[in-house]
């Protein structure tokens, strides 16, 4: 099953530290050849199945992700270039994405000092998709982020299962391979990386986002919690409005702050939750600010309180 792959790591060392397992898993997601079926179970929603194939050759990553439930979708990635094919709408969306993120690459920010915010410890062995895995448990030190329980394949170091754990120790979301092949030559996977058939009538589109520096227009967001840093800020069209989005991440957890002008008299403030996501909306000046993320309510609350707006007077 596990052919000797030139890119594979050596077998596990019994004394390998927890944090090195995490680093190994991140590396394996980017450097190994693998192909399998992934099942994602969101909180309170339908499970979603997808098929993923990933190869690493000559310093380049190639990947194909096909969504098997709902509207058909095939996403091809070549390093940072991502093309999403939608046979139903006959559209190809082309964009550049720095770093892949997404299972089995778990960390959004590989440079983040994960151990400063999370206690990382080894658990028992577990069996996932018929393979023996080392369990890693990540627990937030300040209880302001959700924990994770990871199952990392023992030989290759590939992450096979990830669970998100809330403050009460309950599993709230899960994603896992139900079947996977790891290792082997790139040729073996070549046929599974095929581009979907598209024709002349297909349209190409790009995401309608514009980079923005919100500090320049008077928005001040003091980083409310250690470990979080701003990773992205842009404007995008949502509904009839142009909405600003600022994303913060501590390497594992992410929080988005959305800013939109208040339209008309009706807007909603308050606290809510949708699936694993907690949401706070509050008015700041003439804007409605929405803070949301897969993080405990207290975390979202801290971000919501840390936002201020001082209109910049143009000279």
């Amino acid at each position: 099953m596990l052919a000797a792959s030139s890119a594979a790591h050596a077998g596990p060392a019994a004394g390998t530290s927890a944090i090195s397992w995490l680093q190994r898993a991140q590396h394996a997601a980017q450097r190994l050849n693998y192909s399998g079926t992934v099942v994602y179970m969101p909180m309170g929603g339908q499970p979603q199945t997808s098929r993923i194939t990933h190869v690493f050759e000559n310093g380049n990553e190639r990947e194909r992700l096909e969504i098997l439930d709902g509207a058909p979708l095939v996403i091809l990635r070549s390093n940072e270039e991502v093309k999403s094919y939608s046979p139903e709408t006959k559209t190809v969306m082309v964009e550049r994405r720095a770093g892949r993120g997404g299972f089995p690459a778990l960390l959004t920010d590989p440079g983040a000092a994960i151990e400063e915010q999370y206690e990382v410890r080894k658990g028992d062995l577990a069996r996932v998709a018929g393979m023996d895995c080392q369990v890693l448990v990540l627990e937030s030190r300040d209880r302001m982020r959700y924990g994770h329980r990871l199952c990392i394949e023992a030989q290759s170091g590939l992450l096979l299962k990830a669970q998100m754990i809330n403050e009460r120790g309950e599993v709230i979301e899960q994603i896992a391979f139900s079947q996977v092949e790891i290792g082997g030559s790139t040729e073996r996977y070549a046929s599974r990386l095929a581009r979907p058939k598209s024709g002349k009538e297909w349209r190409m589109s790009t995401p309608g986002v514009t980079p923005v520096r919100f500090a320049d227009i008077g928005w001040l967001i003091e980083n409310p919690l250690p470990g979080f840093r701003k990773v992205l800020e842009l404007k995008r069209g949502i509904g009839a409005s142009e909405v600003g989005q600022i994303v913060f991440s501590d390497g594992l957890a992410s929080v988005s702050v959305f800013i939109e002008p208040i339209r008309g008299a009706t807007f909603s403030e308050g606290v809510s939750s949708q699936g694993a996501v907690n949401v706070i909306r509050r008015r700041v000046g003439d804007h409605l600010v929405t803070v949301l993320g897969e993080a405990p309510p207290a975390c979202i609350s801290r971000f919501a309180q840390a936002i201020d707006f001082k209109p910049v007077v143009r000279q």
Binding site: M41, I67, F103, L107, Q174, I175, V247, S273, V277
Partner: protein, 190 residues
């Protein structure tokens, strides 16, 4: 689907989550005995639950269903409402999958409790199951969206916000919502 059957399924689901009222336990157990109303559902829920918990079994699910059925027929029913491990989406998810399999789509949503209400919350799984609108089957033309749940006072945010967030979330959330992310983005790009 008859009203009686749907309420029976709901009761079965609560029973399996350890949330049922003691007075209703007997009723559910009787219905789960061989030749009872809920027999097939009981089997299906267990089969689905097992499949969810063990990827190994996924390949053998049809044979498993028969094996589970035979085993359950032989065993006496569990009379005490046992608390299942805290796995929030186990039976709710199984319910929706079972319904989809049965050709009827019923989607149940689970909401986290309001924060600030720790002491008052019920001591069970600490979630209040909220039945949202009946959705269409998963392979309808639109992707299955996670229906938002909110209190009467605070409406849900637009799904596009969740999609925009998950595009950069990384990890579990990103992968999971990729289908919806792309679909919504492609729609917006039109």
């Amino acid at each position: 689907m008859s009203t009686h059957q749907s309420s029976g399924r709901e009761a079965l689901s609560c029973f399996m989550d350890g949330e049922i009222e003691p007075a209703h336990v007997d009723e559910v157990v009787t219905a789960c005995r061989p030749a009872g109303d809920l027999r097939e559902d009981w089997t299906l829920y267990h089969c689905i639950g097992d499949v969810l918990r063990s990827a190994d079994m996924a390949a053998h699910s049809s044979a498993l269903a028969q094996a589970v059925s035979a085993r359950l027929a032989a065993e006496p029913p569990i009379l005490a409402a046992q608390r299942r491990p805290a796995f929030l989406f186990s039976t709710r998810l199984a319910a929706s999958m079972a319904a989809a399999v049965a050709g009827v789509a019923v989607v149940a949503y689970i909401a986290l409790p309001r924060w600030g209400g720790s002491v008052a919350d019920p001591p069970s799984l600490a979630v209040a199951p909220v039945e949202a609108a009946v959705a269409t089957l998963p392979n309808a033309s639109k992707p299955a969206a996670v229906a938002p749940v909110a209190t009467a006072a605070v409406p849900a945010v637009s799904p596009e916000f969740l999609v925009a967030h998950r595009q950069f979330s990384g990890g579990i959330a990103m992968q999971g919502m990729v289908g919806q992310v792309r679909s919504v983005a492609l729609e917006a790009g039109r």
